[in-house]
Amino acid sequence: MSTKPTRRSVLKGAAALGTTALAAPYVHAQEMVTLRLAGTGVNAYNEIAEKAMEDLGVMVEYTTLTSDDVVRRAVTQPTSFDLLDTEYWMLKKIIPTGNILGMDTTRIKYFDQIVPIFTKGELPDGTKIADQGTAPYEVSFLEKQGGEDFATETTQFMTAIPTVYNADTLGIRPDLINRPIESWAELLNPEFAGKASILNIPSIGIMDAAMVAESMGEVTYADKGNMTREEIDKTIALMIEAKKAGQFRAFWKDFNESVNLMASGEVVIQSMWSPAVTAVKSQGIPCVYQPLKEGYRAWAAGLTLPTHVSGRTLDAAYEFIDWYLSGWVGAFLNRQGYYTAVLSTAEEYMSPAEWSYWMEGGAATEPMLSPTGDVLAQPGDTRDGGSYWERMGGVACWNAVMDEDRYMVRKWNEFIAA
């Protein structure tokens, strides 16, 4: 395995030249199928592609892009990929274009074992999960295959197979703050003037802003994920006031920017993603993914099939999805700090110590390794926020596309220009 990249590029080159009939002892020896998988770098691990080749004889060719470029390709160039890894809230915009084929759930082996967050809107123990914003189950099913309308209940056609999801909160530098942080309201606390940051992705940034505004008692929302114009006005006014007062050091957009802002000490409190906090910690810099009393803002991503996929590629796509849910990938992605769709199969591929640390909130009994083998936690450490149930159960709202999104984006641009 020491020559991975070389082998990969050789294979790619071979495929590009059309010489796909490589002599290899694969089950599908007739002709190798290439699946072009477009998505962000969040899940695009070469290890997954190699394992897929090993187990399935399917070549996964990643098109790794920023999330903006992913959704733009999804709506304007659906034939440029065979599988698309995208976020659930964007499905609200992507599905009506008619570019996405609903997946036939009868062809998906582990469909019944997908966590009910996606199929019923509840946690595995049956408690309802928050539905403010674009909750995944609201956009999980289609009336008919290739349809452009979401079904209100479970149907045979699923829009996306969840890859990863998580509950987001504020990341803090405990060494530079030196006191407990318990509420989203702290983001706008003048104590952190010039040392706070939020996401510069309007739809997510405004949700964070809403969490803050609500906890400050400035605004009450009927649904933070679907604000009225008046609610948007009030939220943006609050943010403009904070911006003018110099509350924010910078707004971040890429995962890596959030890591750099935090690690360099430019920012001491900001909304973050779980592996970003881990990345800061692994540089030996204290960073806590702080659970807050108002709860988490959650998101999910999933694999979708564009309508043009057919024949052997379609079969390979279904096979790949079954394989994706069969445990190895689930375990791999769980170790990153995100959660996977089918918990039972992932558990089989994780050691009891890993399962306890990542999923049950237990203290690590051995060093915890990342998917790529870096040490993420030492014995005795516990995961910030605790167990899966505590974290996903504490979700207050989901990333969303609002009905008033034209108005919201206009106001957001006003906020940036203020």
């Binding site: 999330s67 903006d68 959704v71 733009r72 709506v75 609200k92 915009k93 009506p96 274009t97 010039g194 510069n200 992705i201 309007p202 739809s203 911006k243 924010f248 050091r249 910078a250 707004f251 971040w252 957009k253 890596n256 750099n260 802002l261 360099s264 000490g265 430019e266 596309v401 609002m402 009905d403 008033e404 999104d405 034209r406 984006v409 206009r410 957001w412 641009n413 006003e414 940036i416 220009a417």
Partner: protein, 304 residues
């Protein structure tokens, strides 16, 4: 007496060039065709799509509704944010243009007149180009450890006892954005000015000197007038790129400073194609007008 460039014999000869005609000959069309084709296929057709889309309707969950509506444009012009954003972008343009012009002219002058060996000139240009072979994505990341709170500059300043506290405005400020622009775009000024300067007949300068002109007078009456096309071309580059930039302004402005292209980018990331298209068309119109005015002052094709 000091000569001005317009009195000089060689320019008269150039102006009286016989071969240039408004209609040209078949060769000219053949020579211009490949470039015209590239722009036709890869720019005009896509931009035609953009113009069409700018008149489409859109809703939150129906991103393109074929129609003929003008509200995407009226929205642009009726919003106070538009004017504020343009003012911000134009301010950047003006400041960056002034700095890159002075700096670029000075360095082009140095490379054209002070360095007389061609290989050495090429080496100088290569040295100036090498930093750009490290991807901008990487360079942009590296501004934090350079200008940030704990960056090299602040460490240096504090180490030297010049300040006690880190200077915050070095990064994520208008200063940082301007610094970034100057860093990226001065070379775009140097190259055309340099190319104009090496066409200046050295004997003109000698002649002026023989007549007792001071260095300043030579610069003002010979070098600058004869470098005008290069200056104009460099200005077109800098104005055009700064007007359309969103990467530098986002990264070095910390996402807190608006620019026209950034507005477009935000709309696009939300799949709001029609308003983004309208905004792009307006931006194109405004910038073309600016450059049209500039090229009215200096005709870059006069002495081809």
């Amino acid at each position: 007496m000091v000569m001005t460039a317009t009195d000089l014999p060689s320019t008269e000869a150039a102006a009286a060039k016989p071969r240039r005609s408004p209609v040209g000959n078949a060769y000219a069309y053949l020579q211009a065709l490949p470039m015209a084709l590239i722009f036709g296929v890869f720019f005009l057709i896509p931009i035609a799509l953009v113009v069409v889309v700018s008149f489409f309707d859109y809703q939150s969950f129906d991103i393109l509704i074929p129609d003929f509506v003008t509200f995407n444009y009226t929205d642009v012009f009726s919003s106070e944010v538009t004017y504020r954003t343009y003012l911000q972008t134009l301010t950047f343009c003006l400041i960056v243009w002034a700095i890159t012009l002075v700096l670029g002219f000075t360095i082009a002058h140095f490379l054209a007149f002070y360095i007389t060996s061609l290989p050495l000139q090429i080496v100088c240009f290569l040295i100036c180009t090498i930093p750009f072979w490290t991807s901008n994505v990487i360079r942009m990341v590296s501004w934090i450890p350079f200008l940030g709170r704990n960056g090299l500059v602040n460490q240096g300043l504090m180490g030297a006892g010049i300040t006690d506290e880190p200077i915050e405005w070095l990064l994520y400020s208008e200063f940082a954005v301007i610094l970034g622009y100057v860093h990226l775009y001065t070379l775009f000024m140097i190259v055309p000015i340099f190319n104009s300067m090496i066409r200046i007949d050295k004997s003109l300068i000698e002649a002026a000197k023989d007549q007792g002109a001071t260095s300043w007078q030579i610069l003002k009456n010979v070098v600058i007038p004869l470098s005008k096309p290069g200056i104009a071309i460099g200005s077109v580059f800098v104005l055009a790129i700064v007007m359309g930039d969103f990467i530098t302004v986002t990264v070095l402005g910390g996402g807190q400073i608006a620019s026209v292209a950034k507005t477009i980018q935000t709309e696009l990331s939300y799949l709001q194609f029609p308003p983004a298209a309208a905004n792009a068309v307006v931006l194109l119109g405004v910038s073309i007008l600016m450059i049209f005015a500039l090229l009215r002052i200096v005709d870059i094709r006069k002495e081809l």
